[in-house]
Symmetry: C3
C-alpha cells in the first residue's frame, strides 16, 4: 500500500459512481449530498422505516450519522443497517455527539452492537467515549481526551473488529493492526459546520469502491484534506471556504491526491 494506490480509489469512485444511502442529520444534510456528488458518487437520503431496507439494497454504502437523532430515526438506521449487513454493503457510522448525552452514547453503542459497522469515524472525544477512555464532548465538539487517540482507537478497532477513524489535525485510521496517520487538511475545516459529516460521506463513497476499509478511509480523508488545503488558499472566511472546498473536491484528480497526500504508516 502506498500513496499511489490510495489515490487510485478516487478514480474507482468516479468510475463506479456508487449510490451512498444516508440516514443523517438535518443540519448538514445538504453538504453531505453535495459532497457525495462532487466526489463522484450519488447520494440518496431516505429515512422512512418502510423504505430504508429497499433503498439501501441499491446502494454501495450506508452512512449513519446521529447528529440529530431521535428514536424513530434510530429504528430506521437499524432496519437499513440489518439489510446492509445481509447484502455485505459497508456501513459507516458517525457517532456525532457521543459522550455529550446518554442518548447519543447509548445509541452509538447500540448501533455498534446490533449492526456490523465497517467504519466508525468520529472526533477524539466521541471515539474516546466509545472506547471507554476518558473523553469529553461538549455539544458535538471534542473537548479533550486523556491518553493517545491512536492507542484507544486501535484498541476499539480490535475489540469491535472494524475500522476506526479519528478526525483531527492529524486523522488516524486503524483496524487494530494497521494504523495510518493522515496529515492532510487545513484548520479552516474546523471553522464551519459539516466537515466531519462530509468526511463520513466521502468515506462511504470510498468504501463502496474499495473493500479494504483501512485503505479506503485513509484515502477518503486524505483526498478531503488535499481539497481543503487547496480551498484554503482562495477563501475569505468559513462560508467562501465551504464553496471552494466543494468545488475543489469536484475538480480533484487522482494525480493531485497522489502528489499531495501526506500519510504515515505506523
Amino acid at each position: 500500500m502506498d500513496a499511489r494506490s490510495l489515490s487510485g480509489i478516487l478514480t474507482e469512485v468516479r468510475e463506479k459512481r456508487p449510490l451512498v444511502h444516508h440516514i443523517t442529520n438535518y443540519v448538514t444534510v445538504n453538504d453531505c449530498a453535495n459532497v457525495t456528488l462532487c466526489i463522484g458518487a450519488a447520494p440518496v437520503m431516505a429515512h422512512a422505516h418502510d423504505e430504508v431496507a429497499e433503498m439501501v439494497a441499491m446502494a454501495g454504502a450506508l452512512v449513519l450519522n446521529i447528529g440529530t437523532l431521535d428514536h424513530r430515526q434510530v429504528e430506521s438506521m437499524l432496519a437499513a443497517g440489518h439489510r446492509a449487513n445481509e447484502l455485505n454493503i459497508p456501513i459507516i457510522l458517525d457517532p456525532v455527539g457521543a459522550g455529550a448525552t446518554r442518548l447519543r452514547t447509548e445509541t452509538a453503542k447500540t448501533l455498534l452492537h446490533k449492526l456490523h459497522v465497517s467504519v466508525l469515524k468520529g472526533n477524539a472525544g466521541e471515539i474516546a467515549t466509545l472506547a471507554g477512555a476518558e473523553g469529553k464532548v461538549r455539544g458535538v465538539d471534542s473537548a479533550g481526551v486523556s491518553g493517545d487517540p491512536a492507542e484507544f482507537a486501535r484498541g476499539l478497532a480490535e475489540k469491535l473488529g472494524l475500522v476506526v477513524a479519528v478526525s483531527g489535525a492529524t486523522d488516524i485510521v486503524t483496524d487494530g493492526k494497521r494504523l495510518i496517520y493522515v496529515d492532510n487538511g487545513h484548520e479552516m475545516m474546523g471553522k464551519l459546520s459539516g466537515t466531519g459529516c462530509m468526511a463520513s460521506s466521502i468515506s462511504g463513497a470510498f468504501a463502496a469502491a474499495s473493500k479494504d476499509y483501512v485503505t479506503s478511509t485513509a484515502a477518503a480523508l486524505a483526498s478531503f484534506g488535499v481539497a481543503g488545503e487547496k480551498a484554503a488558499k482562495r477563501c475569505e472566511g468559513p462560508a467562501s471556504f465551504k464553496i471552494a472546498l466543494l468545488d475543489e473536491i469536484y475538480r480533484l484528480t487522482a494525480d493531485e491526491v497522489a502528489h499531495n497526500i501526506k500519510v504515515r504508516f505506523a
Copy 2:
C-alpha cells in the same frame, strides 16, 4: 403563445409576489426557500398536520416534494392538498425517487389519485414509472427509460388531466395535447443537489401567477435554464455554480428570458 408571452410570466410573479407553500424534503429545503425568494415570490415551509390547511389558504401555490417522505408528512400533504383543491390553488408534485422504492411509487400514485394535482414534474425515470412505462430510478436519479419521454409524458398527462413536466437536458412540458420542449439549461445543473427541487419551486411560483399551467411551467423551466446558462459562465465547480445560479435568478429580467429562451412547440 410565444417566447414573449412566456417571459412575461416572470414579471407577473414579481408583481404578485405569491406565497408558495412547500411541504418538502430536508435535503434541499434551503435551496427551495432561497430560489423562491430570488425569483420574486415568498416561500413558506410548514408540515404540521394541524396548520397546513390554514397555511395553504394564504398561498398562491402548493409544492409537494416527496424527497424525504414519511407517513406523517404524507398525511400533511393530503390535508394541505385537499384544502388547496377546495380553494383552486394549484398543486405542483415532485415525485422524487418514484420508481426507486415502493413507498415512493405508491405515495406519488396516492397523491395523484386523491388530489387534483396541476403540475407533475419529475425526471424521466420517475415519470416513466408513474406512466407505467419502463423506467429505472436509482436513488433519486433517472437511470434510463425505454421509449420516448414525450410520448409517455403526453399519455400520462392526458390520462390524469394535468400538466406533466419531464426534466432533462431538454425539458418536456405537456398537457396531453400541447407539448413544449425547453432546451435551456446547462449540464452543471446536474452536478449539484437540489436543481430539480428548485425547478419545482419556481414552477409553483409561476403557476401562482398564470393559470395556463403548460405555459407557466415551460416559462418556469426556461427561466431557470437561462439563469443556469448565465451562471455556468462564472463558476469553478458545483458549489460556486449554485451561488451564481441563485444570484442570476435574482437578477434575471423578462427581457433576458425573452432573448435567450429556447422553446419548441410540438
Copy 3:
C-alpha cells in the same frame, strides 16, 4: 451603556465560546449552525425529547425557533426550556410565523406562558400578534402592522417581563423601560431566507456572554447589521451576499463594531 460597551460583548463571546443549543427549523438550520460558529460560539442542534434537558445543561443559551414546528418538537422545546430555566440559562424565542396560523400563534403564547423566556425576537407582524396589536403575517413575513412597533414591543416586554426585539429596517430592543433602536443592516438581508433565524442565533450567543439582555441583544443585532453592511459591498445577489455575510461575521472585530454601530437610546 455606550457603543464601546456594546461592541465589547463580541469579544466576550469569542473568549467564552459558549455552546448555543438550538431547537429550530430545518429550513435555515445550517445557516444557524454556521453563523454561530462564525460569531465565535459553538452550535449544537438536538431535538430528541430524551436528550434535550441533558444537552441544554451544557449550553450558555437556548434558542427556540418555531419555523417548522410540530407537536413533538414543541414538547422538546418545553422540556429543554424547563431545564434551562432551572439552570438560569437564557432562552431566546423566535416565534416564526406567529399570526399566520393558529398553531404558531398558540405555540408562541404557550412557550411564553410556560417558560421564562429572556429574549423574544420576531418581525413586526409576529410581535404585534403576540402583543395583541393589529399585525398581519403572511407565511413567515410581516405584512403590515397598525401602530408603532416600539410602543407595542415596549408594552409586551413590560407585561411579560422580558426583552422584546423587533427586527426590521430599524431593529427595536426593549425591556419595557429601556429602548434601543439599531439602525445597522442592509436591505439585502431581507432578500434571502434565514437572516431572521441567524439574528436569533447570534442573540443567543451574546446572551450567553452578557446577562444584560437589552444590551446583549442590541449588540447582537448591531454586530450582525455591521457585517451585513460590509457584505453588501461585495455581492452580486442574495446567495453571494449570504456567503459574504457569514465571512464578514467571522472576520468582524469589536473595533469595527464600535466604529460602525448605529444605535439610538430612546
